[in-house]
Amino acid sequence: MPFTPTKETYSGKIYTVAVGKDSGMITLGGENVLPFHTFDGLLPNRPVVAYEIQDSPPDDWPDEVLSPYADVVNSPVLWAKYCQDTLMAQAIALRLAGTHPDRANRSPEDAAQTVKDVLSSVDIPVIILGSNHAEKDASVLVAAAEAAKDRNCIIGKAQEANYKTIAAAAMANNHKLIAMSELDINLSKQLNILISQMGFEKERIIIDPMCSALGYGLEYTYSVMERIRLAALAQNDLTMQQPILGDVGIYVWKVKETQASETDVPQWGNLKERSVAWEAVTAVSLLLAGAELLIMRHPKSSDAVRKVIEELT
């Protein structure tokens, strides 16, 4: 029987989003196929791994992921340079975790200063994240967006509760915007529509449908991402054609599998390798579902995932 492979062509296409400035600029999106389906059509840009750094030394990172950064965690500038120059990161995600009222409760002004310092020390694009405190983020991210004016960063995350302020700040200062909703394709679509109704171009949004770790709801994130992609491509839904973000590290490095020692749980095996694998496996499965910007923490897992991206393209 003769065999001809069934190729899928879609009417929809993912928006091309450029981030950063000059030589450090990266481009996301642009494909008209499902993740890595280069046999169906075009995949002009590879997914990108952004290395997460924080504005103040993390107090909730397990040793396994903190120790590679032991020498730099006290300085966001040194930390950023280390990612760019030693780890050869293509992008950095600066999480302003220290601004959370339960943490150091740093002021928006302090946060803005950190953003300025980091931006002046690296050439690669920077994603600027709040502490996920809807109220505080509104003030912190406005200050951060101003401090980063015209550097073409990605600012986030705008959620239903605070999107107006954050989207306005991103718009005024020429940034891209992360729109985050909670594990539901309809909520994600709705937030994209609300944000674009403010006059914010939908082509400048990055979708974050909310991440989850392997074993802790990963299948939900996986399927929501897959469905968003199919809506964008097969149904040509113009409100869902943005690149998707997988904020992997923050979810992975709080689960038991990345913290419990082999002494405590012998049947789980070596903690060092298990925790790195947990982050890398989570990341690779989300890449296959549609994420094309990943925020990760451990240098080893990030490195392994970057190699897989190369092997897949």
Partner: protein, 447 residues
């Protein structure tokens, strides 16, 4: 090729007798075309029609069993390309590579490692399912003696015999008669001899091809000599090719009902770098491999792969549940706070995670609400005051804690009074609506 509803209709008795349970033969034909009904429901279908329809109504990916007895594992029967459409049916199998160049002691220790791989996760028993003996020596005697070491194990482990030499295959497969092994592989050079061995010993035949065209050629050839159970290997070893070939194979089977590719896929992902191997295996798990052959099975890696397989093969329509019980978060004491929530796994993971983040140890009472989240369970009448009160009373927590305070989710604050009425001597406290408010909530209580 798949028949359309109308084509199927032409082969049916057209009596509209309703014995199949459908109002008309045409309605039944439409259901058959969508594979939502079985031809067995029609008592009057002719033998000729049965034969013609049999092929069309068979599952697009043939079911194949590896091994016998309680360790037997089923593959295939998949019906969709995306897991949100319908549950992926038979979880992929992990097999540990054993090279026949190893010594007897080394082979035995590999088998031990497989036996030792069993773990429980969220109520499921997970393990490395099989071993794949590789004829690395290219020597038939060596292959036979390695196979005999595996055959002599008392553990009934399913076996994949990988050799392109029909003599080696035959001498090894004899030792697994009636154990449903796989002989892998048949290629264009050995096809007749290999198919004969598989047929004689009732083994599943592994098709070892280079590219999809060759698979089609080989499976058709094998079928013409009467082989039905097969697994197929496109020769892909790198990530890009694995994704591409597996996708084309699954599409051909599902969308075109193209029988020559309607078999479970075996993928060889062996790498010296174990993390790299784990990531390649992850691609196989998400993207349509039915058997994944690994070079090493360290416990850390198994846990990650077992978990991903579990996640991907979960039924998207049935919420994942955790067991009803009182969970200890951190190392709680008799004075630590007690929370109650439902047993939707996502709810449990998020709530327990946030209690953990708060660094305040606690007891988390998880109540069986058929896997619904708090609001849904409340709306469905499964998370009600009397049910919560009864659960707390029967849980035995009263013997483990000194206080009598229960923290309920903020979304069901309306229940606090009636729970207090039903739980004598208890104080009900309304917690935050969202789990991410728990750390601040606990912090403010401590202050």
């Amino acid at each position: 090729m798949a028949l359309t509803g109308v084509e199927i209709f032409k082969l049916l008795p057209k009596t509209n007798c309703k014995k199949c349970g459908f109002p008309t033969c045409l309605a039944f034909a439409m259901k058959l075309a969508q594979r939502q009904a079985s031809l067995d429901l029609c008592p009057d279908v002719s033998d000729e029609a049965r034969q013609k329809l049999g092929e069309a109504s068979a599952p697009p990916v043939r079911p194949v069993v590896l091994g016998a007895g309680e360790r037997a594992v089923k593959m295939g029967e998949e019906t969709v390309l995306f897991r949100h459409d319908k549950r992926f049916v038979n979880p992929c199998i992990f097999a540990l590579e054993i090279k026949d160049t190893l010594t007897e002691a080394e082979i035995k220790s590999k088998i031990e490692e497989v036996i030792d791989s069993e773990i429980d996760r969220v109520g499921q028993n997970l393990r490395i399912d099989a071993v794949a003996l590789i004829n690395d020596s290219a020597d038939a005697n060596r292959f036979e003696s390695a196979a005999s070491v595996i055959a002599s194990s008392t553990y009934p482990i399913p076996v994949i015999l990988c050799t392109t030499n029909p003599q080696a295959a035959e001498s090894a497969v004899k030792m697994f008669a009636d154990k449903k092994p796989i002989i892998h592989g048949m290629n264009s050079d050995n096809l007749e001899a290999m198919a004969a061995v598989a047929k004689t010993w009732k083994a599943t035949l592994g098709i070892s091809a280079t590219g999809l065209e060759e698979i089609v050629h080989l499976t058709e050839k094998a079928r013409s000599i009467g082989i039905e159970d097969m697994v197929i290997d496109s020769g892909a070893r790198r990530a890009k090719e694995i994704l591409e070939n597996n996708t084309f194979i699954r599409r051909a089977a599902i969308k075109k009902n193209f029988k020559p590719l309607g078999y479970p896929v075996i993928t060889f992902v062996q790498r010296d770098d174990s993390l790299e191997e784990a990531l390649l295996a992850s691609i196989g798990i998400a993207k349509y491999s039915s058997i994944i052959v690994l070079r090493s099975i360290e416990k850390w890696k198994n846990l990650a792969l077992f978990t991903l397989r579990q996640n991907i093969y979960t039924d998207p329509q049935v919420p994942m549940q955790v067991e009803q019980k009182i969970y200890k978060i951190g190392e709680p004491t008799p004075v630590s706070p007690l929370f109650v929530t439902t047993n939707f796994s996502l709810t449990f993971f998020i709530v327990s995670g946030e209690i953990e983040n708060s660094k305040v140890p606690g007891h988390l009472a998880v109540m069986d609400c058929e896997g619904l989240s708090v609001l849904t369970a409340w709306a469905a009448g499964k998370f009600t005051a009397s049910k919560i009160a009864q659960f707390i009373k029967e849980s035995g927590i009263e013997n483990q804690i000194q206080h009598r305070e229960l923290i309920i989710p903020g979304y069901v604050s309306i229940l606090s009074g009636s729970i207090e009425d039903k739980l004598e001597g208890w104080k009900i406290t309304v917690g935050p609506r969202e789990a991410n408010g728990i750390p601040a909530f606990l912090k403010s209580r401590a202050a």
